[in-house]
């Protein structure tokens, strides 16, 4: 109980409470029969939002105006090109991953080049970049749907000790992100830049270097998520990234990260990603039609943000 007071002040706690409440409400309906299945499905599908959400969170930390809208296109291109290169060959798994990461690096470099060299605001720069990337994906894909190598298809759809493998990958990446954000000098830099770019510059922080690395990191995480998602869903599709544009931003906001920048947290991404999946499955379980379901999803998200947001302004 002593620690609960401190816990209640953490910005990410609301997304966890929301996720738990929805999870509980869903298994109650089914009388507890679906507990394991629901939890595993939630972890699996949340894993992809977590990976892209972390990248987006780092970019949003950089302060007002910073956002990466090229996430969906990057996912699609990385998935498409990697599967084409691997061509259902188990020995090509590592080169495929490398190519996916390289695509992420290229998109990140392109994004920051547009932002810095052409002085285009990030929202426009990454959107234009996403058109280029999406066109490249269409050009390579040409309507073909190549299956992933058997090893990868197995890996992404199975579990270790009951925990889905993709969730374990997301956990590993989250730990790295947590260390970067909370413990490293780089984490301090991006938080400082998000609060005041002018002050960060005068404190001797390499502002351009830190921002560049952040856009790079976001694009690489998006391409890794695209690679895993393509393998998980049995092949790359041109619209596979589409839902992750809104998702990557929503999980950051619901997770309690300050939209104005400078104050972020990794645990919130987990709570929010689980919540986003669980809300949809809860409404499905209740047998609610698609139209109402979308409206309900929107309303629930808004109320969680209001709860979390109201508490945070009180803290300051």
């Amino acid at each position: 109980m002593i620690s609960f007071g401190r816990l209640a002040k953490k910005p990410w706690i609301w997304s966890w409470i929301a996720a738990f409440v929805v999870w509980f409400a869903t298994i109650m309906v089914t009388g507890g029969a679906s507990t394991l299945g629901l939890s595993q499905a939630a972890l699996t599908f949340a894993a992809f939002s977590i990976i892209v959400g972390i990248g987006q969170m780092f970019v949003i930390t950089l302060g007002p105006g910073n956002i990466d809208l090229s996430v969906p296109a990057t996912m699609t291109l990385a998935g498409t090109v990697a599967l084409k290169l691997m061509n259902v060959d188990n020995s090509m798994v590592v080169p495929g991953l490398l190519v996916a990461v390289l695509i992420g690096v290229a998109v990140g470099v392109g994004n920051y080049a547009l932002i810095k060299a052409l002085r285009i605001p990030p929202i426009i720069a990454t959107l234009s970049m996403s058109f280029i990337v999406q066109s490249a994906a269409i050009w390579t894909n040409r309507g073909l749907r190549i299956k992933p190598p058997a090893v990868l298809a197995d890996f992404t759809t199975s579990s270790t000790l009951g925990v889905p493998n993709v969730a374990l990958v997301a956990l590993g990446l989250s730990l790295i992100a947590w260390v970067l954000l909370e413990k490293s000098v780089y984490g301090r830099w991006i938080s400082a830049i998000g609060q005041s770019m002018a002050a960060a510059r005068m404190a001797g922080i390499p502002v351009d270097g830190a921002r560049f690395v952040t856009y790079l990191f976001c694009a690489v995480l998006a391409s890794v998520a695209g690679y895993l998602l393509a393998c998980f869903s049995g092949g790359a599709a041109l619209n596979m990234g589409a839902e992750y544009l809104l998702m990557s931003i929503a999980v950051v906001v619901i997770g309690g990260t300050a939209v104005a920048g400078g104050d972020s947290n990794v645990p919130g991404i987990w709570g929010a990603s689980l919540f986003m999946f669980l809300v949809v499955s809860m409404l499905n379980t209740y047998g609610i039609g698609a139209g109402i379901r979308l409206i309900m999803t929107g309303l629930i998200i808004i109320s969680v943000i209001m709860l979390a947001g109201g508490r945070r302004t009180g803290m300051r």
Binding site: V185, M202, A203, G209
Partner: protein, 484 residues
């Protein structure tokens, strides 16, 4: 006396305010009569800004009452205060930078509604600017963000004295001259006297004691949330005032030690407009001249030339102490400790990971050295008073290993005692071979420098060395070439 018969414009009786465990006001009684200027002095964190907030209605005291014109006000807030003619000029500038001066005037004066408000507002603010700062040269259509910090402060002061229906009766000036140079400060103080002579009241807060002594009728000294002395200004002099504030006057601190530095190695060179700029090892270099004549720009240029925005420098040559701390100083979401350590993380980390134990240790060390008034360095930076925030920025720069320290008028809003301590630290560090490049709007600080560059219209017009560094020479050089 006739004044006793008059009713006080504002009377605060026994006000107590505490923020958590900190007692900001511990039973303060203060009444402001029409036609008097009260000088309010005290160290940073003595409670000056808190009593001001009680008087302007921004803060309701937990105990105590506020009365105006003899009637007790049970409900008192900013709107009621403004309706009674209470105006405030804040230490932290409060204009909206994205709006023009005229638009800001409209926001301040609710009376300026309806058709043609722009013309009315322009007339109101221009009239006031002309009255307070004759020959100011500020265009009221400009966005506030384009003004220099001195011009912003001038607009803010003029705003407080402007009359758009409800005449100002009590104007509170919280550190109004901190960004103004001597001639502008003179104009403002003259206006204060004119305003008081016409029956208005002023509460004047400043750390520049001679301004307080010559402008006020009555001086109130605060310490630790209490009024410790309250007497007519005539009964104080500089020495007694400092004594009443509780710090030991140290006239020696204003004496510059004569040092021979011409042979010391040059650490920094810059081809600015006008005379070339050089800095030698161990030198304290002053940048003087009227406010906003290119001194800050030189500091920014020096900083930009020496830093790399893509890759951190292992041994940075320069570090920077901000004067406009909200613009390029503090990180508002962070704790005091993080604000302090951000510039020296290179020394406090291994393999890119911050060693928090070392960070906390160094923070505690500097908290003691520069007396940052807080119980816990993990408290938010905004929990500190303005002067204490400035001390944190000072500690941030001094804790780095950079041999050259650039200072952009960093003593704004810092109290006398702290200033003396910081001057002493600067002297010690300079003796160890560090160089200081110091832009200051205060003559006392410029006189501490070994060498002074005087600016005029963004050009270095004069260089004064050693005994030539004095008020007469600096003022003469500041106004040279006005005709051109």
């Amino acid at each position: 006396m006739a004044k006793d018969m008059m009713k006080a414009v504002i009377e605060v009786d026994g006000a107590r305010v505490s923020f958590g465990a900190v007692k900001a006001l511990d039973g303060v009684t203060l009444s402001v009569m029409p036609g008097e200027c009260i000088g309010l002095v005290g160290h940073n964190g003595a409670g000056k800004s808190t009593i001001v907030n009680v008087i302007n209605g921004g803060l309701t005291p937990q105990e105590g009452t506020v009365a105006s014109d003899g009637e007790r006000l049970d409900r008192y807030n900013i709107t009621i205060a403004r309706g009674r003619g209470v105006r405030c000029v804040f230490q932290e500038l409060s204009l909206c930078p994205n709006l023009s001066i005229v638009e800001n005037t409209r926001i301040m004066h609710h009376e300026l509604g309806g058709f043609g408000w722009r013309a009315k507002a322009a007339k109101v603010i221009e009239k006031s600017l002309d009255a307070v700062f004759p020959g100011h040269g500020i265009d009221s259509g400009q966005p506030v963000g384009d003004l220099s910090i001195a011009e912003r402060q001038m607009v803010e002061i003029a705003m407080a004295f402007s009359d758009a229906g409800i005449a100002p009766r009590l104007v509170i000036l919280d550190e109004p001259t901190s960004s103004l140079d001597a001639s502008l400060a003179r104009q403002m103080l003259d206006h204060v006297r004119r305003f008081v002579a016409s029956g208005g009241s002023v509460i004047f807060i400043s750390h520049i004691l001679h301004e307080i002594l010559e402008t006020s009728d009555r001086i109130v000294v605060m310490k630790d949330g209490r009024v410790v002395a309250e007497r007519p200004a005539g009964e104080f002099d500089h020495h007694r005032l400092v004594e009443a504030m509780g710090s030991v006057a140290n006239d020696d601190a204003f004496q510059r030690s004569a040092r021979e530095l011409a042979a010391a190695p040059v650490v920094l060179k810059h081809q600015a407009a006008g005379l070339p700029f050089t800095a030698r090892q161990g030198e304290i270099i002053g940048l003087a001249g009227l406010a906003g004549h290119g001194q800050t720009e030189l500091l920014l240029a020096l900083h930009a030339a020496q830093s790399n925005s893509w890759w951190p420098r292992r041994d940075p040559l320069v570090t920077f102490v901000a004067g406009d701390r909200r613009l390029n100083g503090v990180f508002e979401l962070w704790s005091i400790l993080r604000n302090f350590s951000i510039a020296s993380l290179g020394d406090l980390s291994r393999g890119g990971v911050v060693r928090t134990a070392d960070e906390a240790e160094r923070g505690a060390d500097w908290k003691g050295r520069i007396e940052i008034r807080t119980q816990d360095m993990d408290n938010g930076i905004l929990s500190l008073s303005g002067g204490n925030q400035q001390k944190v920025l000072f500690a941030r720069a001094l804790a780095t290993r950079a041999p050259v320290i650039l200072m952009d008028d960093p003593m704004r809003g810092v109290d006398v005692g702290t200033k003396q301590e910081v001057y002493e630290i600067i002297r010690q560090e300079a003796a160890k071979g560090r160089s200081f490049i110091w832009y200051s709007t205060e003559m006392d600080e410029v006189r501490l420098c070994d060498r002074v560059y005087v600016f005029r219209e963004r050009v270095i017009t004069a260089e004064l060395v050693g005994d030539d560094v004095n008020e007469t020479n600096i003022i003469a050089a500041s106004f040279e070439g006005v005709a051109a």
